[in-house]
Symmetry: C2
Subunit: 467 residues, 2 copies
């Protein structure tokens, strides 16, 4: 291990040699090679280059649009140039919703504009907008408890108290206003809904995101206010006077269009040993250039697989999948699972889709028989400052079906403290990626692949989980 | 001095008692009273209340628009309620330019939208926009050096290297692309100009700001890209292929409209002692709610004057002026100077117009005969963590004419490290104001006024400066 490189890249204290597998274990040679690959990856430039190219030369690449098609062309070309095998596209068709105009203003008592953006699948207003009184709620539960009569014809506003967490756990809990709010408001007869963005920043950049209309919920205009605007609306509502808002949202459904996954492989020497599937997603929301969500994941997993390829043929095939349409419902992940679940012999999966900040934790979802494998990976990751967690790995949005169906999975959890400052906003741009932390990600994925792809033991299935 | 309050508010180390005027000086009693007023102001709530009200109940208030009129109504009502005397409006007329649509996109080689906003007095494109090749420069000097032929018909892009400084000095040097770039580009026959925003943040919030067309420069479309967008354009230009841009900017001049200053006074007991004029500006740019620029200055100077008023009548009259139209050329400051220069007996001026962060430095522009006054003020400010600077006070944009014409001035310099992250952007909102630092400002202004308004000595004129 090159302590100087590690210390420079991560500003971590020097690591005791005991964190590595003991030279007396049978895996000693493999462990030393893996450690060398890991440390060499701390000066990786490929991941940065790929993030820079995808965000600069393609930019925003919403699923099902021609921009996502350009992202696939870029990926096929670059993966081929890099020497990957079996580079191909797995196409699928999907319905596409695109943003239109979006404006809002308080008409009374304090006239002023507000900054917002439509949520995925939002209904549209007429071009001139709608005007209605605003009714505010501090939670989805409070909206649910309100009488239909009190909500009918009004614009619902829902706030929440999301704050940053390292593991990103706030997104599940505090995301309810986006995921459930529009359908509940629609069923109660609301004219529209605006939510406090599901985010943790204080910039005038609203956070979009998908929401699906529940059964019986007619699409209504649904948007997210930037957090400063949501707090402004709360202050105005707190004055106790009726608040009227004009809301203009003109998104539209453009019909069914093509999306696709880009797949590439590092062929293994032992077809019986199975395939390791990793990746990120190629599509992004339209507002930013999708640097942290998820050019980073594309680049990290590609760069790590490339390092393994350049070090010689691994025992197991490594399959890199750059998914389409993650943001708008996960059609790419579904398609890939359907195509490969039966016919392939995938033994292990893991996705990188939580930004570009450093990996702080590893979680496993391995059979008990593979506990030694988990121990070897843990030991190899420890010098990167990565702790072992106790949660079962879930493999991310695009590969999550696999562990639910009984395939082993490993998660390398990235630090999410600032992820929801930028997530799904115009602010998701290249400057948010820290090259040093990006390299730590490549090093961790390289270490994981070096051990898992060459592990001499069988990688076992895990119990399938009933949903 | 209440060390606990100070320590809590400012997280400063406890202050040695010697930082205060010695009890043996003739000014001891005045000094003790001023110190008590200063420390009581560290729990001030009025300034926060005023910033909250102006930004919430009026919001954006561009000079010459009806929103600025609502800000004047708010100010007259609140200053009257607070007990100020002679509350009145000094009206003046001004030409008004207002923003229209603003969009830009790279057409080739990498199609994608860019985020920008028009600079003040920008010319307009047709509604469908203009399309032209982009030519990039890394400074105004480089643009100036380019041949007219190379620039003609193109969209000029200028970048710069502004980084944060505590004293805000980068704004002067790095503001040249905004102040000079458009006129130079116009004279060279450019179709339009986009600059890297004059700012120090990395958010997709462009920085607007005024620019004046030089003689012979026909108005052309002129806008600021957000900093992430400017860096994106630089990366795209760096690929070396021709870059075509579509630019849509539809601002317009709406003719002459009314603006005005709101003036209020704390009457002094001694008409011969002269008037101290302080204040901030009421108008803001249209993009944000003008919390740091400059509801804060309005609130800080009003709250400090109010504290002096509540402590009893000072010797000198304190005049609080809330200026109109600072952002678009300073018509309010000019009007006030013209009205009061001859007929009043102003002896000292100072403006608060650099955000809401803590005051770190005091600069004087006093006659040598008033050195003891400067020393007493310096001593009283030291417990607030304020150092004495060596630069002559300039009294800010609205009161700057006064020291140039020979009137004494004092500057309380605020920390500008993050000021240009938000300045003139949609992000200038209430959440950027830190209540603790705002209170330190009120305490410093209260201390300054307590000493200067009651100073027994004459406050002398200073030499007028030839421009």
């Amino acid at each position: 291990m090159n302590k100087l490189i590690l210390a420079a890249a991560l500003a971590l204290p020097a690591v005791p040699a005991s964190a590595q597998p003991s030279p007396s274990t049978p895996q000693a040679t493999v462990g030393q090679q893996a450690a060398q690959l890991r440390d060499a990856a701390l000066s990786d430039n490929l991941a940065w280059t790929l993030v820079e190219e995808l965000t600069t030369e393609v930019g925003p690449r919403q699923a099902g649009t021609e921009a996502e098609g350009r992202a696939r062309e870029w990926a096929v070309r670059r993966l081929t140039e890099l020497g990957f095998s079996n580079v191909r596209i797995e196409p699928f068709e999907m319905p596409v919703w695109v943003r239109g105009q979006e404006r809002a203003e308080i008409l009374s008592p304090f006239p002023q504009p507000l900054v917002l953006t439509a949520l995925g699948n939002s209904g549209a207003t007429p071009a001139r907008g709608i005007e209605a009184e605003v009714i505010g709620f501090d939670s989805v539960a409070a909206l649910q408890a309100a009488s239909d009569e009190s909500v009918r014809g009004k614009i619902v506003f829902i706030t929440h108290g999301m704050t940053p967490t390292q593991d990103g756990s706030g997104y599940g809990q505090f995301g309810a206003p986006r995921r459930q709010g529009p359908s509940i408001a629609s069923r109660k007869g609301a004219a529209g809904i605006v939510i406090r963005s599901i985010g943790t920043d204080y910039h005038r950049n609203p956070h979009t995101g998908v929401q699906m209309w529940a059964d019986g919920a007619r699409p209504i205009p649904a948007a997210a206010l930037s957090i400063p605007d949501a707090e402004q609306l709360q202050r105005i509502l707190a004055r106790g006077r009726p608040v009227r808002m004009r809301l203009v949202l003109t998104p539209r459904n453009t019909g069914r269009h093509m999306s696709g996954n880009v797949v590439a492989e590092v062929p293994g020497t032992d077809p019986e040993a199975g395939i390791i599937t990793i990746g990120g997603h190629l599509d992004s929301w339209d507002l930013g250039t999708g640097a942290i969500d998820n050019a980073a994941g594309v680049a990290i997993t590609t760069a790590a697989a490339h390092r393994i390829m350049q070090a010689g043929r691994p025992r197991r095939t490594i399959r890199v999948v750059l998914f389409g349409a993650e943001e708008v419902g996960g059609g790419g992940g579904e398609t890939h699972f359907r195509l490969h679940r039966e016919r392939g012999n995938v033994v292990l999966v893991g996705e990188s889709d939580f930004g570009a900040d450093r990996i702080w934790r590893v979680n496993f979802n391995l059979a008990p028989a593979n506990s030694a494998l988990a121990d070897r990976i843990t030991a190899l990751l420890a010098p990167l400052g990565i702790v072992r967690g106790r949660d079962p790995a879930n493999a991310g949005a695009d590969l999550g079906e696999w562990p639910r169906a009984g395939f082993a999975a490993i998660d390398l959890n990235q630090d999410g403290t600032r992820y929801f400052d930028y997530h799904h906003t115009p602010d998701d741009t290249l400057d948010k990626v820290d090259p040093g932390q990006l390299r730590q990600n490549v090093a961790a994925w390289t270490a994981l692949l070096a051990v898992a792809a060459d592990a001499p033991e069988r990688i076992e299935a895990i119990p399938a989980r009933r949903e």
